[in-house]
């Protein structure tokens, strides 16, 4: 195992930041810790790095118990949200820092340090900036230098704390793909923390969804997205329409309409429920295609790149429905604000019980 956490608990005064959390991550994986802000994901990362002490539990990195080691003996690479580069040192000195502070006997020779730093900076495509100071670099460039600095000490594991959140959208996306490629080359066990589900889905081998200091679900992006374990996970991964209602006789009510419930809930007699529908799992047409279709009027049209977002007010429903249609369909159906449409709900997820968002 690359990283093994056993029963980690951490409280700040009354507040339970991490609640008896256990997690195993195989060597060489790239894992996303995904959750809303304040869910404990950053605290967990800092505990792994030794920057925060857990109240109880065990931390095993690459088969070595590091629970009680101080950060400098843990040998983890840590990348901070705001880069935390050393301002008074050049890019070269920044990356070389971890090697130059090694005890004399372990410290590589000058020439070796130079070669290693140059190699790493080439890896992060920053080898042209050896003599620059951090203030002369853009945010994306600084974060790449920070990554090279973290990798310089051959860390057991690499921890990234919301590494892209301080960057603008375009750079963020670029850097994301680049990090994925880099990870495929170097294979160091890595965890990155994010509150951005898109980032987690795109980048990670495995996603761990955290809420209130506990793991809600873990699995590949596909598994987590297609088979969310509970209402929280479903709601957190992507946009969603939520309808509150009741399950009765294998049907779930959606306003005046009744939809078949998924198989696993066929046996439920009667219970309050929440029905979740993703905006892209809604079909829109100008003519009624089956009896369950809802009739509605488009209230709002939003351009979202390749997709068009629609806000549709349906008869018999309390709230409006958010739908997404491809641009071509939008044009072919001549949709616009105020147009009457029929709404087909292609796929629903129903969770029973009262879950509050």
């Amino acid at each position: 195992m690359g990283i093994e956490l056993q029963n980690i608990t951490k409280t700040f005064g009354e507040y339970k930041a991490i609640d008896n959390l256990s997690l195993s991550i195989p060597s060489g994986d790239l894992i996303a810790l995904l959750g809303p802000s304040g869910c404990g994901k950053t605290t967990l990362l800092r505990i792994i790095a030794g920057l925060e002490l857990a109240d109880s539990g065990k931390i095993i990195l690459e088969n070595k118990d590091t629970t009680n080691l101080p950060p400098r003996e843990k040998n983890v690479g840590f990348v901070f949200q705001h880069y935390a580069l050393f301002r008074r040192l050049t890019v070269f000195e920044n990356v070389a820092f971890g090697l130059k502070v090694l005890p004399f006997r372990q410290r590589p020779a000058r020439k070796e340090i130079r070669e290693r730093v140059e190699h790493l900076l080439k890896l992060v495509q920053m080898d042209w900036a050896l003599k620059r100071y951090p203030s002369q670099l853009s945010g994306g460039q600084r974060q790449r230098v920070a990554l090279a600095r973290a990798l310089a000490v051959n860390p057991r594991v690499l921890l990234l704390d919301e590494p892209f959140s301080a960057l603008d959208a375009k750079v963020r996306q670029e850097l994301r793909r680049w990090l994925r490629k880099l990870h495929d080359e170097i294979h160091v066990t890595s965890i990155f923390v994010t509150h951005d589900q898109e980032e987690a889905l795109e980048l990670a081998d495995k996603i761990v969804v955290i809420n209130k200091g506990r793991i809600e679900q873990q699995g590949t992006p596909q598994e987590v997205y297609d088979h969310p374990a509970n209402a929280f996970v479903y709601n957190f991964l992507g946009n969603v329409n939520v309808f509150h209602g009741r399950i009765k006789n294998g049907k779930v009510s959606l306003g005046n309409h009744h939809l078949d419930v998924p198989d696993e809930l066929k046996n439920v007699e009667e219970k309050t429920s929440q029905t979740f529908v993703r905006p892209h799992e809604i079909g829109i047409s100008r003519i009624r295609s089956n009896d369950n279709d809802l009739e509605g009027t488009i209230r709002e049209v939003r351009l979202q790149g390749g997709q068009i977002g629609l806000n549709i007010e349906c008869e018999g429903l309390d709230g409006a429905i958010e739908a997404e249609v491809p641009r071509e369909l939008f044009i072919n159906l001549q949709l616009a604000k105020g147009v009457q449409v029929f709404v087909t709900i292609n796929r629903v997820r129903v969770f029973t019980g009262d879950y509050e968002i």
């Binding site: 040998n75 983890v76 840590f78 705001h82 935390a84 301002r87 008074r88 502070v101 100071y133 310089a152």
Partner: protein, 278 residues
């Protein structure tokens, strides 16, 4: 076209007015009074001037003033850095009181400080008695002068370092620790370079203040000719003998040396800043 080009507008308004006031006040408060020293010296003529400022007693006083101010500033650098560190990094009862105490040398009439030191270090005083066991004498020696100047310069160093130290992000130190640096390495290689410009400013201020200090020093120095006479005292004693031109001459040299040293230190600082903030 020409009209637009000539009138280049600054984003910040009021440059002319504020610059005018700055120059005016600087002239009224600093430049004109100090130029009087220059104009008082001129009637002397070159030969008497050289004679006045190269007298062995005067030269000895220059040496003493600059060397004691220098050592006091160096000591203040260490003590001030440590104090600023304690005030910024730790929370303890009485912190507010300690913080206020730092400023006391600013507020106290320096003569009062001088009298306090003189009593404390006199052979009968608390410290003087103890030091007498090892045959150490503080009063009437350059060491006494350094002690007085340390007291006077101390707040400058603390107050210039404090805000910079407060600004250092915790993440910077955490990053260094994660990379395997010990606390000492983090301080030496990361924090100290960061604090250095502020430290240099503080030391410069303490040093400049030390050169000009009069009140606190004369009580502890003993004012022995060639041994513990500081430059400001030379000026005072010339004034006492109604030798105004001679006093001005000594003052002029003191002023020129001080000014060029401050200029040099400023240049060093600017050069330092330029390196990482271009």
């Amino acid at each position: 076209m020409g009209l637009f080009q000539r009138k280049r507008r600054n984003i910040l308004p009021g440059f002319g007015l504020s610059m005018g006031y700055t120059v005016f006040y600087l002239s009224a408060i600093v430049i004109v009074p100090l130029s009087m020293i220059f104009f008082n010296t001129i009637p002397m003529g070159w030969e008497p001037f050289v004679h006045a400022v190269t007298a062995p007693r005067v030269l000895a006083s220059y040496r003493l003033s600059f060397s004691t101010a220098f050592f006091a500033a160096i000591f203040d650098a260490l003590a001030g850095l440590l104090t600023a560190w304690v005030l910024v990094r730790y929370r303890f009862p009485g912190k507010g009181l300690l913080d206020a105490l730092v400023d006391l040398p600013f507020a106290l009439p320096t003569a009062v400080a001088g009298i306090c030191f003189a009593t404390l270090y006199s052979p009968m005083g608390w410290f003087g008695q103890i030091l007498a066991h090892w045959n150490l004498q503080i009063i009437n020696t350059p060491t006494g002068i350094v002690i007085a100047l340390i007291f006077i310069g101390f707040p400058f160093v603390v107050r210039t370092i404090q805000p910079v130290l407060e600004e250092v992000e915790q993440e910077i130190e955490e990053a260094a620790h994660c990379l395997g640096a010990t606390r000492w390495q983090t301080f030496r290689k990361i924090l100290l370079p960061h604090l250095f410009p502020a430290l240099l400013t503080g030391v410069t201020l303490a040093f400049a203040r030390g050169i000009g200090e009069y009140g606190s020093v004369i009580f502890i120095a003993g004012n022995l000719p060639m041994k513990t006479e500081i430059a400001p005292l030379m000026i005072m004693s010339k004034l006492d003998q109604f030798d105004y031109a001679g006093a001005s001459a000594v003052a002029l040299v003191l002023l020129c040396i001080s000014f060029s040293m401050l200029l040099l230190l400023n240049a060093v600082q600017e050069w330092q800043q330029k390196e990482y903030n271009s």
